[in-house]
Amino acid sequence: MILAYILFLVPLLLFVTAFLYETWLSFRRLRNPKAGRTGYVNATWEITHTLLILTVVVLLMMFTQSITDLASAIFLSTFIAAAALVVRAVCYIYIFYVRTGTKTDAIDWTFFLSHVVAALFLVITVLEALWFLFKNRPEANTQFLPYYIPGLIVVIALTALPILVVYKTK
């Protein structure tokens, strides 16, 4: 049971750290948009989102017997965060791949605010999920763990060095 919690809390913690860093970068670049893409993350984008997906999938797969109630509990906050992530993606592509000027405009502010809204509602989602788990103590699908954990160790071993290289290059 504790292992089930660890499996979703660890990637969650990593995601929150990375996402807060990105939120800070999106705020910092408002003062210096001339820095362009160098003032924000680039190649790390995918890895950060992967952590979010890892967290959500592990959380929901571990507690499928209670998923209907758990889904209702975290539904609104999760989808508001998801909507903010879509807005963030639109702004990201526009700012770094489409726009030619370097002057700060409403899109940059929207970009920053989308980070804040996403972060806020993701935190609410986590709190709602933890409260649900604490209150209901649902049974975890531990039968997957003998398959999942060895594979996860191999995948982490395979990707650990590339992750270090990517972040170092950034």
Binding site: A43, V98, N141
Partner: protein, 447 residues
């Protein structure tokens, strides 16, 4: 039960959200699966032929791949959330059986994401040899393919649930591996992958065709465009190979449907009665309880032949199933449109082969280029319709035979607020991605 709210019916809103999300996401999926292969292929040609033009092409398309991944990741995230939060009934029922591929998908996603980032940042890095760089690219191919298999295995299980017994309302005697590596999964996976490869390569080939057409470089002898012609030919050959293999998987799919999902096949072919020597009906729409109206024609015995390699094969008809278990019969029209698109595709590919390799005097390159310029979009239409047939053809079930779509729906009504937001946001996301790609290609051309 679902309710009516200010924004509409929860079930309808959820279907709108899921359908639009899948329809949008699939465009990026087929590029995410095909581009890594093409990029690796071009990079390998560059290394083997010591031709920097191929390497430059690989680099250009890897940049396109990176932009498409940004969009694909966000739409993929939304779909992952939808599968769990909008349709929790699916996992509540089968989570213990089919939850593992969801978890494996996270491995695949992590491998793909990390190696994509590594691949992009190590272009021109002198400490990374060309073959090592190519190996990073092959890991992207591996991650993307594994991810596609995991997701397709889940969808296959929804179409034909296996790997468990259902006793007294309980899922027991679970065999996770037989649920994942089912016959359905292999047929659906191979068929969809080949369709993605063919579609993406033809759309990209179309871009090269338009470029060559615009510069009026109809003659291969023009050295300036020889590389573009070479890339175009490579892409078309790749697509033709995928297309020929698609014939095999399409045949397997037809036979599989006849045996394991007969009601879906009966609805697609408007076959009402169980019998042998069943014709293939082209055109027409369902009329009343067992009729066909509108212009149509029949190929005698063809459906029986496709279902069992003999015109005597007995094919189950719709009348053998309860009306409440049948999918909507407009799937027949969707299938007709899909087949029309495929026939146009065959004709265009045939035209291209004729012009490029047999060089008839009465036909020149310009016609072949115009045709190839558009052919990819017929393939894309066919892919979209293929998934619509798979999903709509399974209705009214979410997990066939066990959980209906209505039962699988979330209990919360908040979905109605998002059912229309995300489709609209996809339009904006698609537009901005398109602009980004146009700008990227233009800047690369200048460089």
């Amino acid at each position: 039960m679902h309710s009516i709210s200010l924004f509409g019916d929860a079930l309808v809103a959820s279907r709108v959200l899921m359908g639009d999300s899948l329809g949008f996401h699939i465009i990026f999926v087929l590029f995410s699966l095909t581009l890594p292969i093409l990029v690796c292929w071009f990079e390998w040609l560059g290394i083997r032929k010591k031709d920097p033009k191929y390497t430059a092409t690989a680099k250009l398309w890897s940049k396109v791949m990176a932009v498409l991944v940004i969009t694909g990741v966000i739409s993929g995230t939304i779909i992952a959330l939808q599968m769990s939060l909008v349709w929790p009934g699916i996992l509540q029922f089968g989570g213990k059986v089919i939850g593992l591929p969801f978890l494996f998908e996270t491995y695949a996603f992590l491998i793909e994401a990390v190696f994509l980032a590594l691949y992009m940042v190590t272009w021109n890095n002198k400490r990374v040899s060309p073959y090592l760089h190519l190996t990073f690219g092959l890991f992207i191919v591996f991650g993307a393919t594994l991810s596609a298999f995991a997701i397709t295995a889940i969808n296959s299980w929804m179409n034909y649930p296996t790997g468990f017994d259902y006793v007294n309302g309980q899922v027991t005697n679970i065999h996770v591996w037989s649920a994942i590596f089912s016959r359905t999964a292999f047929i659906e996976f191979s068929h969809s992958m080949l369709a993605y490869y063919m579609t993406a390569s033809l759309i990209i080939a179309g871009l090269y065709a338009f470029k060559l057409l615009r510069h009026r470089s109809k003659d291969r002898a023009q050295k300036q465009y020889a590389h573009d012609w070479a890339i175009l030919n490579n892409l078309v050959v790749f697509a033709i190979v995928a297309f020929l293999l698609l014939f095999v998987t399409a045949d397997l799919t037809g036979k599989y449907l006849a045996k394991y999902e007969p009601v879906k096949l009966a609805a697609i072919e408007l076959n009402y009665n169980t019998q042998g020597n069943v014709p293939l009906i082209i055109g027409g729409v369902a009329s009343g309880t067992d009729g066909i109206s509108g212009p149509h024609f029949e190929i005698p015995g063809a459906l029986s032949f496709l279902a069992g390699s003999s015109t005597n094969t007995v094919v189950l008809g719709l009348n053998d199933f309860n009306a409440s278990d049948r999918p909507p019969l407009y799937v027949h029209t969707l299938f007709d449109i899909k087949m029309t698109a495929m026939n146009i595709l065959v004709a265009i590919l045939g035209l291209y082969v004729l012009v490029r390799w047999f060089k008839p005097k009465w036909l020149n390159n310009a016609w072949a280029l115009i045709a190839v310029g558009f052919v990819g979009y017929f393939a894309l239409l066919s892919v979209e319709l293929g998934w619509m047939l798979t999903e709509i053809g399974r209705q009214p079930w979410a997990v066939r035979g066990y959980v209906t779509t209505t039962e699988a729906l979330t209990k919360t009504h908040d979905i109605t607020s998002f059912g229309y937001f995300f489709p609209l946001s996809y339009v904006v996301l698609f537009a901005v991605t398109f602009l980004a790609l146009v700008k990227l290609v233009k800047s690369e051309r200048k460089a």
